[in-house]
Every structure is written in C-alpha cells, then in structure tokens.
Symmetry: D2
Subunit: 390 residues, 4 copies
C-alpha cells in the first residue's frame, strides 16, 4: 500500500469528472508511476448528487461534509475542485491537517487569499499543486522543450488568445460564472488565467501589464436553475434580469522580465470559437504556434532551415519522441483515438440490450472481406472484378 | 446484475488496451447505457504478460487458455483481439458456447473464413460485432447523418486514403504484420479495410473494383524479437533477412451500386503521414471531408449557401448537436482534453513520491493571480502596473 | 530589333487573354529575358470581337484569317489558343511557313493528330511549345527541384486531383466543352491532361494505366448562346436538351516506369471545389504537397528532420531562393499582391470620373496618421491617449 | 482623349513598379473603367535609373525634376511614391498646380504634415487618394460587405497582426527604413499603418489607444550601399555600426467609437512570417478572418447556421459574386494564376534564344495525349493498357 495515494476530492461537476477520469487513467496508461491514486472519498453538498457521482466516476465512498473529510487519517491528498469561492477555506483546513493539496485554478478569488493558501501549505510542509492542465498537452511540452533547450533562441514575442462564444446570446442566463462574488472574474480569470500560466511556463515572469475590459451584455435573465457551464438561456423575454458583474472580454499587453513583449486576449464573444486556446512564440531562432482545438499539433519554424524549404512545420506530437505520447497509442494515433472504442462499446451493449445486431456486425466484416479479396483478385488477374463474383 | 455484461477478452496488446480502456470509460461517460460491461477475464498465451495486463487494465482475472474461457458460464461476451489468424477458431467455438461476439477487424484472413464465422454466429443466435472503430468518431457520425438525411444529395464521389510511414526505413524488421500467413495482407487489409468499411457505412455497397499493389522493400532483417507495431529496425546491416510477403501499398478504383465512383489508397510508404486516415464525399448538394489526424473536425460544404459565402466549413464535432459529444466535455473541448489531466496527475504523484513540489505549485497559482490582479488594477486605474507593485 | 520576337496569336478568349497578359508582363518583370515578345497581330473569326480584344489586350493589329497570318514575314511565332479542334490545321500550316509554335493544351484532339503536329514542327526545324502552364508556378518548380536534386529520394507515390464544380447544376447548358467533337474529352482532357503533364514533369514516364469514366448528367439544355466557360444554365426547364458526349469525371491508376504508383482523378462534380488542382509526392526521403488554390505554397516533409520536430512545412515560395520569385515582390508578398493596386487604380479613376473623392482619400491618410501618433504618444507617456486629443 | 488620365509618377522602386503594373493592367482587365490612365512621365533623381525604369515599366518619358513635372500642362495626376520624407513637399506643390494626387502611405511623417497636405488638396479642389492597397483585395472587400450589410451584426472585436521577419538577422544593415528621420517610424508606420487603415475601413473610427514599442536590435552595420527592402547584411562583423532609431515592434490596444475592442501588433521579428497581414473580426452574428498570405481566401462564420454544421467557411473570393473577381479569371482560378503564363513565356523566349526546344515541347504534348488515350482505351476495353501499345 505504500505506493498508494489516497485521494479525497471536494467537487464533482465538470472538473470533478475530469479529475476522476485522470485518476482512473493513470494506472492504466502510466503503470510505472511511482504512486498510484486511490479514489477513496468524493465530497459534495448535495447528498444524492455526490453519491451518483461516486458511482459513476468510481469513488469508494461519498460524503457531504468536507470538514470531516479533511480530518480523516485514511486520506493523503485533498483535491479541491469545488466552486472557486470555497477553495481557500478548504485548502487552509486541509493543510492544517497535513494533507497534500491539489487545487483547481483559480487558486483563490484574490491575490491575498491565494498568498494565504500558499503560506498555509508551506507552513504545513505538504505538497501543493494548482490545476493549470493545459501545460500537460504533449504539444505544449514540446514547445516548452524547444524554448528551454534554446532551440528557439531569445524570445521576442508571446501572443495568446483564449476565444469562446458560449454566452454571446443575450438571452443566455446569469449563471454563477457571470457573477463576480462567486467567480471572481469573467473571461479574465477563467480563460486569461490559463494564458498567463502558459506564458509564465514558456516565457517566464511578467514585468508589467496594461489592460482593457468590457462587458458587452450588461444584463441577463436570471437563471431558473443553475445548471453549470451548459445552462441554456430562458426563452421567456420577460424573465427578470440581473446585472452581469464580470468581464465578457479582457485584453492586455505585457512586458516580460526577459525582454519579450506579450499580447493577451480572453473573450467569450468571439463567434465561431468554441474554445480556441492558442498561442504563438517568436524567438530569434524560431517560432512555435499552438491551438488547443488541434491539441495534438505544434507548428514549429526554424530560421536555420535551408533557404528554399523554410516554413512552419505541422508536428503531430504523437511520436515516441514526444513527452507522454508513448504511453498512449502508436504514432499518428492522436489522443482521442481511444474514444472511438468507447462509442463502439456503447453501440455493442445497446444492441445486445435491445435484442438487435450491433452495427457493424459480422455481416459488415464479411462484406469488407469480400471487397478486399475482390481487389486482390483484380490485382492478380489484372482485370475488373465485380462483387457479384465473390 | 441484469444490466451487466460479463466480458471475457482474448488478446492484450494494442487492441486489448484500447478495448479495456473503452470498457472502463463506458460507465463513466455513458452511465445510462442499458448494459454496463464487467471486466471479468482477460486471456493470453503468456501467463506473466496477461497477468500484468489484467492488473494494468483492471480485469478481475487472467487466464491463458481461451478454450476454457469460452466455456465459462460467468461470461456473456467474448472479445477477440488476438492476432488475426486466431480469430476464426475462437469465434467459432465461442459462438458454439452461445457467447456474444466482438471481434477485431479483420474478421478473418479470408472471405471464406469470415463467412464461416458469420454463419456460426447466426446459427448460435448470438450478437456479433466487428471492430471498425473509426465509424464511431463524432465527426464521422456527422458525415453519416448528412448523407443519410439527404443533405449532401446524390453521391458522386468517394475518395479515401490511409497513409502511414512507419515501415519506410528498409532496416525496419520483418514483423508479423509483414508476413502474409499471419497478417493476411499488408496495407490493404490493415488500412484499406477501414476505408472500405467507411465507404460502405457512408456510401453503400460496392459493385466492382480494380486495383494495383506493390511491395517496395522486398526483403527485411528478421526481427530478433517480435515487439509488435513499434518494433525498431536492427542496426546490424548484416542481420539475416527474410521476404516481405504482404503489400506495402494497394490502390484501387471502385464503382458503387448507387452510381458513385470511388478511389482508394492504403500505403505505409507516405513519408510524413503518421496515420492519415482521410476521406472526402462529393454529392449533388454538398461535400464533406475528414482526416483522422484532426478527428474532432469535419469539413462541410453546401451548394445552397449564399453565393458570396460558399466554402468548406470547419465544423468542430464537439457541440451538443453532435452524437456522443455531450457525454464528454463542454463544446470546443475536443476529445483528448481529458488527458491533460492524466498527465497532470502523473506530475502530482511523481512529485510527491520524489519529495519535491509539483509544477505548477501554489507558487504558480499565486503568481498567476498577481498578474490577473495587476491587469485588473491597470484597467481600473488606466495605467501600466508593474508586478513589483503587487 | 534582333531581341524581339514578333507574335501572331490565334484565339482571343480565356487563354488569349492569359497569353496577352503574359506577353505584356514579361518585359516588365523579366527585363533581362534574352528575347522580348512584340504583340504584333491577334487573329479571330469575329472581326469586331477580335478588334476589341486587340484594343483591350494591346495588340498592334487584328485580323480574321489565320491562313494569311501564318504566311506573314513580320511574324516569328504563332501562338495557337483557338478551340482545340482547330489546333492541328493551324500548327501544320504555321510550321510549314517556318514559324515557331506555341500551342495551348490539348495539343490536338487525338494522339495521331498530335504526333502529326510534332512531326511537322520537327520537319520545319522550328521551336514548339505546348501550354502546360501549371509547371511554371514557383511552388511547382520547387517541387521539381526537390525531386531532381534527390532530396525526396526514390519516388513511391504520386497522387493528383483536379476537382471542379462548375457544371454540377443539371440546368447548366450544353456548352462546347461538353461536346466530344469540339472538346475531344471532358474532365479527362481538360483537367486530367494537366495532372498527367505534372506527373511526367515531376515523376517521369508512365508505364501502364487503367481508368474509369462517368457522365453523371447525360442530357443538358441546349445553350441559346455559346458564351464560353462562364455560360449560365437556362432557367427554362422546357428548353430542348442535347446529349452530353464527354466524361464528367475520369479516374485512373498508373504505374510509372521508375516504379512509382500513381492515382489520378479529374472531375467537374466535386461540390465546393472551384478549381482544386493538387498533387502529393511521397519519396523515400520526403514528401511534397501542392494545391493550386494556394499556389504560393508548397508543403514539404523530410524524413531526416530531427525526431521531435518532424512535420510538413508550409513553404511560401516567394523567397529569393525560389525560381521566378525575385522578379516579383519582396518575400512574403505572394503573387497576386500586385492586383490590389490595379483595383486601387480602378477606384481612383472611377472617383475622378464621377467627381467624388476616392476612398481612401487624404482624409484617411490623416486619420491613420492620427492613430499612429496617438499610439506613439501613449508609448512615450505610458498612458491611454484619446483620438480627441490629437 | 477625354477619357484619358495622364499620369506623372514620382518614384520608381518597389511601389513605382507596383503602380506601373497597375496602370498597365487596368485597361486590360477593366476595359470599361470610365477613365484610363496614360503612363506619361516617370520621375526620379537618378537619371539612368529612372530611364531604365521608364523602359522597363512602359512610361513614355522619364525626367529627374519633380518640380518641373508637377507644372506640366499635359499631366492630370501626380502619383507620389518617392521616399516618405519627400511626400509632403511634392503633394503641396502638385496641389497648387491643380493636379490630382495619388500618394503612397504613409501620407507624411507627421500628423501635422499630413493635415497640411489634406488642406492643400482641399484648397486646390483636386482629387486625393492615399495608397492603402490592402483594402482592395477581393476578400477584404467581401469582409467589408459583410460588415456593412449587417451580416456580422454588432462588432465586438477586431484583432490584427502584421508579422514579418526580414530584419531578424542582427547583421542585416541599417537601411533607410530603420532610420527615423527618413522612414518616420519602423514596424508601426510601415506595417501598423495598414492595420489601422483596415480597422477604420472595416470597423470605424478609433476612440482611444495605448501601446508598447521595442527595438530589439539597437545597433546595426552601416549599409555599404542602400539597396532598398532586400538589402542583405554585411558579412563583415567589424563593419562600423549605427543606431537603429525606429521600433522593431509596436503593439497597442484600442477602443473603437462603436464599442468594439481592438488589438494590434506590428513586428519585423516574427520568425517564419514573411509577411503575415491578418485580421479577425467578431460580431454578434458572425466572424471573419483574413490573412494576406492567402489573399484569395476569407474565412467566414455565421451564428445562424444550423446547429450541427456551424464552422468557419473557407471562402475563395474568386466567384463572380465577389468584387473585381469576374474581371480576372474563372472561379477558382486565384489571382496569380496569370503569372504561370508569364513564366511560361520566359521559358519560351529563352529557349528560342538559346536555340533549344522549350519545355514542355510538342513532345510533351504528344506524351500527354498518349496517356490520355491509353486511359480512354482502358476505360473502353476495361483492362490495363500499357503506354507501349500506344
């Protein structure tokens, strides 16, 4: 049991699901990881909701009181992905109890709070991690490696955008993410925070900034029910409205300590961009470009390439040479490949349950084989072969 | 237990891993599936290997004799992903035992064999499925929906390519996939079979074909050890060589029963293509294009679009309107998003194990928050704000 | 005058315009060409039409009888871009008169005819050129150079498509290009011929072929008036119809003398493709991809690139290292840049003629300068600057 | 002669060549323009240089004194593309002489100067135009039309980049474009000015701005000879150096009078970007994207598209529905197509001059025809046909 890390997780929505999936996947794809997480306890305020989540995600136990949870002896790590305004209190208490901490971003709603959390973790001598997950794309790791190894030279420019469009409809309701007291900020804290972390990860510390914010839709219908990220707008135009208290878009310019210039934009009003999280770095020896909508790719340019064949390369970060990639699938099989099988299994079990044949059935296997052999015969006999012949 | 489907799986390599992952993911992402697979028994010839796989993938039990396995009362479904030359015997016996069948492609090494398998499954009255997994990409499902609903009109053209480059190096060894008696065929059966299935799925039955094959590298070093797909070439130029008995590339033309023309190419000699599985369909009302390297995207064109804004649309098949998509993540978060978290957890457990802080730590959370607030201050005070001030 | 080449051109439609423009551009962009064409005489059957063309394109003289033209002493080169069925007769006679020959493709309607033309030209000892213009894209020249220099290694695959969609509407009329006796063939001769020439240019001679053709729309309304490529369909559904006697699509497979495999497709029924003329070459050391819709680009892949940064490079063939490119514009200014100026001049002369100010006027120049200086002031004074201040 | 506009042009380098080409092309591609320019007089300080330019570009006469030129009665329009620091004086004098004015951007080196020029032009009652040529791309015109017609709705965001890399090499010499007293500014005035004009053209007036500038390479070798844009760096590391007095990069944020937010970046230090002039507009009903490296394309997104097929469309602005496009070539034949012919003619005249056959010659025409007919025979006879048979 000494290589087990017993996890107590607070939160069970979007990020709770993402973390659970990661805990489940780790032993399967990285069996030689030095510790393996044990999905011990999941915690949430709604008893029925959290119990269902426990079943669905595979947690051994569900509880509703995080204060109890953080005191338990059989828990090594507290994973905090409850709403942002609850992060601090949980983290402080968990640190006090000597638990390792994994906290979703934003760490807290204010700089002061986040400093307090860091201090508490340091005082307790526990491990502390914050959830900037985009760093962990193989393509981003490749970018990092190119910067760190000096292959891009001195960095001149970093420009980054996180563009979404999910709240452009003015009838989209006033969900918690649009309320400052719960969310802290809007696009800036939700999306911009990821860009800032990527910038720091890849280019280093910021020196100074100047920004601009806007809330394009200033009032929205109150949501009948808070249903998270995917809440749909009320169809009732007469529904009572409330004030949007966060930014719809924030842009800023920055100067980095290392001399690079930065440009940042986070917005939820970029029609056509479901979730374009992209950046480009220009250095004296080369450039890289990344867009999370094509998360397996990194575009790379080197000034040293021969004169007549210089150009951005589209590198698919799925080769054994790329960090993490070998754990997944053969080269070229992008991350995501695996889910075609999950959907396939869904068809299989659904068909069995409904007493019908799945599609594709062995009939399709036979039909495919017939075409394969017809082609082979046509090659051998150097003539057109009809399927009827087969 | 009535909604459980107890699985016995024969095979534990590339496809065994993919299937295992799917069985594990189904209850998590599709909790309302009418049946849920139970990962009961995994079977393989190498006792130690299969036991390790059982541990890694999460199977309750491992065995080495598939003949025993298919007879067990506590198994409902036999999943066959052993090497292709073993498919038939296992399927026939499992059918005889009344087990449902899920068999990887190719169903068998010959048309005659595959017909025998189908007959056996039909005689036994069991469910039978063959593993053409690419059908189950949300983007491919969208293509299917556009064709079936008539939104592309009458289909004129289907052209498809499956291009790889993993055996281009002449020193790459003579693995089993290059030997006809084990693999049945080369590119044609391995890659072309997927294209044929997609064609049948999307356009319908074939009428006639004519093809062309080539083996560019006719002899290769014998592999010291068979290490599957990722076997590396021997560095010893004097190593004994054997004959490559399958095709490196097969192309063919086809006419479909519905009147469309088809063009197909499967090759392992397309430098720069790790695994480009792509197709295009042209119909009287529109066209679609797909490339598995960008599996979340479907390019779609409609002739009915207004004259001045006609063009291929890049549709990201991650919206609730797209099949399967809602089970995963919010719109724009492509399939694959989840694995950034898996890598993140790897860093977390590794750091804890090594007694160091993970990266990003709370320090990074604080630093990010400092930038966020500096920007906010710059917005409020309409001036440049240095990080030093914070 | 000895470095002048006096041209007599037969034909004045699509290709006549393209050739005229080239004759006009040559001295301007390639002033050191060893000969410079003199646009002496343009010839066409319609007296008014050809005279207007002469004026518009800048020919010194227009005539209607090509037989007279080819006899004139003051002509060095006969440029033949009349309809395809007239090529042979003109070429034979011009050769007999000792004129150099430049003939649009297809050289003739049949192999026999084209051989006769070649023989005549050789007998006469004149220069003879055929108009496969796509060879002359800088990006195609780069592909050629990469193949010839051995940088792509041994060639395994050539696949090429010429996809259009201009006749997909069944009410599009029966123009001459759809009639075998005038056009020779349909997509095959019109589009496929270009692919064949590119294949020969880049990969070498063909050894054997097998193909498939289809005419999807077998009858079309007779055109009230033959208006060339851009003829629009009659809106009258009861218009009399005639038979389409050429192929709408032709596909074929090929084996090259050098051992490469080829795949070809020419169609006018690929919705969304206005004119996609594209090819890919895969060799043992690398690959290239080209699409004329992005004529300034060549995608290039090398197997020798470092392991972690292998990928197709998007090379913009506008650098001094690229053939022809230096004659045009600075690097990155793609061919086509120049026409923004032509349109600009159109606005200028139109505005003057209409007695209004052009747009952009000096007002716009001032307004732009105001923004430029406002930014400069904001940089110097480290503050937001309003345009009102300026 | 009343529909003639007699042009006197001052300047004969990069822009002089571009303007000359436009004057030549206008009558050919836009024969029905209400006025047609007459290339009367070209003016430059270097007598030999300007005379050569006159010959090369097709001007009737060359002179060296612009003061004389602007006084001539036989000139209607003065086209100013001399170095920027000369614009004002020429424009003022030409206006005084009642000449229409066409001036390259930047209009002047300062806002004050440009205002003086505008005033002079207005006082003189002449037409005045400034050379923001990028407005005149068909794709940009389409963007304009989509904005103006309201099809993009209310505009929220405009973000634009002009990225180049031609001076990244520190040994690139100190050309005039890097000297403030001649060029006015660096990237900002040269590249940023185009972005500002596009922003004003597409989104409207600016309200306020804040920016950031940097000169990454502060000293450069003095150029032995000023050779314009394409000057190469001295290979002598000991060459004397001078101070770079303009910005290498300037970024700024902006707020538009209409409420949109803007982000701008102009740099000459973006490795891999030869000349990426790109922008994106996000409105409440849709978005557009443009990149001059693919000048024929506009990407367009509409929120009103059906739910399952929403995505950016790649519109090729070469259809008759697109402004200017019909004057050029058939749909899908991008602007630039015509130059393949120019290069073809270069091969033709070079071959004739050298006494060799051009390539492709009639031999190639015959060889292509042989393949065409072999394919046709293979279709008819449903068999492989060798070229030897033909």
């Amino acid at each position: 049991m000494s290589n087990r890390l017993r996890v107590g997780m607070v939160g069970y929505k979007f990020m709770g699901k993402a973390h659970s999936n990661a805990y489940r996947s780790l032993p399967m794809f990285f069996p030689s990881a030095p510790l393996q997480p044990e999905m011990s306890v999941i915690c949430g305020r709604n008893e029925q909701g959290v119990q269902e989540a426990a079943n669905q995600f595979g947690w051994s136990e569900s509880v509703t009181d995080w204060r109890e949870l953080v005191k338990r002896d059989d828990i090594d790590l507290i994973d905090i992905n409850a709403p942002s305004d609850a992060h601090k209190e949980i983290a402080l208490e968990a640190a006090r109890q000597g638990k390792h901490l994994f906290c979703e971003k934003p760490l807290a709603l204010s700089l002061a709070d986040s400093r307090e959390m860091l201090q508490a973790a340091e005082d307790a001598g526990v491990a502390h991690m914050v959830g900037f997950n985009y760093r962990f794309s193989p393509a981003v790791q490749l970018a990092k490696d190119l910067v760190e190894s000096g292959r891009l030279g001195k960095i001149y420019h970093f420009r980054a955008f996180f563009l979404q469009d999910w709240i452009m409809d003015p009838s989209f309701p006033l969900v918690w993410r649009l309320q400052k007291e719960v969310a802290g900020s809007g696009s800036h804290g939700d999306l911009g925070a990821h860009l800032i972390d990527l910038a720091r990860f890849l280019v280093g510390e910021f020196q100074e900034v100047i920004g601009m914010s806007e809330t394009f839709i200033k009032e929205r219908p109150l949501a009948a029910e808070m249903t998270g990220l995917s809440a749909k707008g009320s169809s009732n135009a007469d529904a009572p409205k409330g004030e949007v208290t966060v930014d719809d878009a924030t842009l800023f310019l920055a100067r980095f300590a290392g001399g690079a210039l930065g440009s940042f934009e986070a917005t939820r009003f970029a029609a056509g961009h479901r979730s374009t999280n992209s950046f480009e770095i220009n250095g004296s020896l080369g450039s890289v470009r990344f867009d999370f909508e094509r998360m397996n790719e990194l575009e790379v340019y080197f000034t040293k390439d021969e004169e007549d064949v210089q150009g951005f390369r589209r590198v698919l970060a799925t080769d054994p040479a790329h960090k993490y990639a070998e754990a997944w699938w053969p080269a070229g099989h992008t991350i995501g490949f695996e889910h075609t099988f999950t959907h396939e299994m869904l068809e299989l079990v659904t068909a069995i349950s409904e007493g019908r044949q799945p599609s594709p059935s062995f009939h399709d296997g036979v039909a495919c084989q017939a075409v394969l052999e017809a082609v082979e015969r046509s090659v051998t006999e150097r003539r057109w072969v009809t399927l009827e012949e087969m």
